[in-house]
Symmetry: C2
Subunit: 570 residues, 2 copies
């Protein structure tokens, strides 16, 4: 067995039921992992923390849309035809590889290379990592989406498993706009699975074919972007600005200074950098191993205008775990063009009404009233807000509630006149923080994993934050006899009945081996029930991080467990 | 517009952002729904309640496995080749239909019919529901799974989107067995998406192509099944026993009586019926609209030996929402046969050791010790527990931790002798409660939706349990001026900072219209900030269910909100 720390950690995660290769009974499938009995609870706590973090703001809500996505949506988003990688097969071992992976040691910034440049570098004698030959097939494009079909036969439609959760939120923009009473800014979050049919997945949890995503779309008026105060964040953070820009070179600086200096270009993006930092530290990421790297102009998606990757440092070097992008109006505008929907806009009220000469349709109340009754007011409003006057009557008029009515000749009169404009419709901009939850969990585990020694033997402790520990406490009867097991069961029930708390009980093997196991899976506290407990109700409480033990009454430790204050007993 | 209650409810759910058709901008896809800003939180609370409900037991843990599943797993589970429906196309309108749907008015228990019987009934002149013709194509079989491919080209593998979450848990049985220190009973839960490529989805949330599942696999020793006391459940519940059995006919009876009478055949199944009832009532299902229907022997899967559907009554009649099945050893045994794994068993300790004459391998400590060092004990244990002695040396020996070692000639001696057996390996049985979360949410909404009148106009109230309400409280500034908006914002922040609580603020339109909206989405409490609040810090608190209003100090209502005791103020 290899003696690298990354292998020892991976082996621990597997042995202890944290993260395991999927479908191992059938030989496994690379790029798919299971969260086992220990890991699934860590995953849930990380997801829940993320959801709480954003929904506590008051203007951000959760939504949930399907992973199966019809092709038309992903044509509009640009994924169909563009979401792919260049691959080659090796003439020696027939293995398939991504071209950018093969050349990554030979070029610093592979994301900025064109397909032609990639191929050129490949032909300079790059070796196959498996068989060391240099006989490459022609380069071809591989679609990175998992494709499927909805329905059957004549009614069948081509579809894909979503490559990101974002599109589902753009689809729900009209519902969100209604929910927030037509007032920007507001945001939506979605968590769930994303899919990417990688050619050659590797690096364990870093590059998965099915992964846990958590994305936020924050819709703003670009002329009036939210500028929350950044004074709360007085700690410096590591920034790596655009290498082609005027601020190139890593710096350690507060968010507020970075915004004033023009390194971070958008005030709302700056605020999301700060809040992302908060979240990561809250779930146990080491703050000294976080940095934000700004995309070079050559690397940035064509529509985006300020993009930052939040990178975490661990066994795989610096890895992108969060992307924060100002996507401008790109997504909503593209869906408006492809779907023809009129519902992807927001209303901007002018501070002062403006005058303009233009064609208008003057509503004819005498005809509209009887025709639409209670809705006539809405129809008149929509007529007055029309930005483009249709050439011909009758035409279809869309109301603010999304429904539409037919307007005939007698209902409105065309006239050219000076109009007073109270506001205008526009396409909101979107700031998108997108989190790769599996990568974050990997780094939580990596940063928590501590190798030490105990009585001359190797000893591992997973120093997980109690915010994400798989159990809040382990309950250990010293022996499973004389009623100690029953008392331990009773303590476990009391723990499990407290909101949000979960304990586990273990009566196997020696107490030393049981302590070692709970240290390895990151349980912060252990309660041991022994002969004295039978007499006086006291228990031993053991702290994972320094293995210190104290003697406390069981009622006291449970009370402190409920309030998160066990450490005050020490 | 149709004037049926089900249509009014569906329209409310859509208008208020609870549940909406997916991808409507692109014409929609039948069988896919979105949970909007209001519904997604209801969904999350139902899911969280479900997870809490089961994990509080102490011997049930959560796991999480991928939705993409390689073909081999679903061949073993029986889904490939068996998970399909019979369909026909109409010669008139070319619509595709499920044969069992077409004939369901013509036959009472369609689940018990063979394909030949279905076709025979179809040819008796059943009309197309769309065009009323009776010209049917040949009947064919449609695969109900969404298929896809993992990887590309030579390395590509056929795969499906999982039709249930259960298989992922069977895959993790070895990790669960280790986690629970090789001691039955224990259980695993998994929540997530399931997929079913329906031919003709209908009935809104009842028959979806992508749905929210929540399943539990409880592994037991069939010779020593858990028999928890049923005395806690003294209420009678509605049972519809097997129509072919001796107890046919609906009855109202306690679970404990049903078990004694032999209606429920398995003690662990009985306990799961009771706990399922608890869960449903806790999330707001009307207890008088729950019944448990036992499968007829003809309808039951061939491997199962006591199956119950929990049916809920609503706008679509009685609908199966939970299935509780004793699946015996079927699944683990089938995976053992298909995968060749030796890790799908459990150990049963005999009360008294038993003697038996048989071939044994006597471990040779002098050779095993140096070869395996610290692991030698485990190797000896595994040698002694071998049930089948291999014909030839050397051979591969699997240890209890799942690893394997090679045993050579000198490490053990073959002998025929009287052995003392301390126990035996066996395949655990599985009790599986499987919950259709979307169907349950539909019935929560259906049972909560109340149509009433107010001042001569129709008025709707969604009487959701506070356990699943989308917001815990609405904060409403009477006007958005004189600082009322700021005070409301501050109250909202205080609400959102309390664990698990979420409020929303609404300052649009008249207070009456805002109350009507929060009643429609089921918010149990509203706090109104008005001119008096500015003077003395008191607010109006309004109760959704009887619309009663009281005047309270804001600190008092927040305190009571945190402890779930606002009703004591009234």
């Amino acid at each position: 067995m290899s003696d690298r720390r990354v292998d020892r950690l991976t082996s621990l995660l597997r042995r202890r039921g944290v993260v395991l290769p999927s479908f191992e009974l059938y030989g496994g499938v690379s790029g798919l992992v299971d969260y086992g009995p220990v890991g699934a609870r860590i995953r849930r706590k990380v997801m829940d923390s993320w959801i709480d973090h954003w929904t506590s703001h008051g203007d951000i809500v959760e939504v949930d849309s399907p992973a199966i996505t019809p092709e038309s949506v992903l044509v509009a988003s640009g994924h169909v035809g563009e979401f792919n990688d260049l691959m080659v097969e090796c003439g020696g071992c027939t293995g398939a590889f991504r071209v950018d992976h093969l050349i990554e040691d030979s070029h610093e910034n592979k994301n900025s290379l064109s397909p032609e440049e990639l191929v050129a570098i490949l032909s300079t004698g790059i070796e196959c990592p498996t068989c060391k030959e240099s006989k490459w097939s022609d380069v071809r494009t591989m679609d990175l989406m998992f494709s499927t079909q909805i329905g059957a036969m004549k009614g069948g439609r081509k579809a894909y498993m979503r490559p990101e959760t974002a599109q589902g939120m753009f689809m729900l923009y009209p519902a969100l706009f209604r929910h927030f009473k037509q007032k920007l800014p507001f945001g939506a979050i979605q968590t769930g699975k994303g899919y990417r049919n990688e050619i050659s997945p590797r690096q364990g949890m870093i590059r998965l074919r099915e992964f846990n995503m958590a994305e936020l779309e924050y819709f703003i008026d670009p002329e009036d972007p939210p500028c929350p105060s950044l004074n709360t964040w007085s700690d410096s953070i590591a920034l790596v600005p655009d290498p082609d820009g005027e601020h190139s070179g890593e710096c350690l600086i507060t968010i507020s200074e970075a915004l004033s200096a023009g390194i971070v270009r958008h005030p709302t993006v700056a605020w999301f950098l700060a809040r992302t930092m908060d979240f990561l530290i809250n779930v146990g990421i080491d703050s000294t191993r976080i940095r934000f790297r700004q995309h070079a102009s050559t690397e940035m998606a064509h529509y985006a205008d300020d993009c930052w990757d939040c990178e975490l440092h661990g066994e795989h070097g610096w890895v992108e775990c969060v992307g924060i992008a100002n996507r401008t109006c790109h997504d909503l505008l593209s869906h408006e063009r492809h779907s023809g929907s009129k519902q992807l806009k927001a209303w901007r009220q002018f501070e002062e009404p403006r005058s303009e000469i233009r064609d208008v349709l003057v509503p004819n109340g005498a005809s509209l009233g009887p025709a639409f009754k209670g809705r006539a007011g809405k129809v008149i409003e929509a007529l007055q807000n029309l930005t483009e006057i249709p050439e011909k009557m009758p035409f279809e008029l869309t109301l603010t509630d999304g429904s539409s009515v037919q307007i005939t000749d007698e209902m409105a009169t065309r006239r050219s006149e000076e109009v007073t404009l109270h506001g205008e419709w526009f396409t909101p901009h979107v700031i998108e923080p997108a989190f790769g939850i599996d990568r974050i969990i990997w780094h939580i585990l990596d940063h928590s994993y501590t190798e030490t020694e105990k009585e001359g033997e190797k000893y591992s402790i997973m120093r997980l934050s109690s915010n994400v520990s798989p159990y809040d406490v382990a309950v250990l009867p010293l022996f499973d006899k004389d009623g100690m097991g029953e008392i331990a069961s009773d303590i476990l029930s009391r723990v499990n009945s407290m909101p949000g708390l979960r304990g586990e009980m273990d009566s196997s093997k020696s107490i030393g081996r049981r302590y070692a196991r709970v240290d390895e899976i990151g349980v912060p506290w252990a309660i041991t029930v022994d002969h004295e407990t039978l007499k006086d109700g006291s228990v031993t409480v053991r702290r994972r991080d320094d293995q210190k033990q104290i003697r406390v009454m069981v009622d006291d430790v449970l009370l402190n467990l409920g309030t998160g204050t066990v450490s005050t007993l020490f």
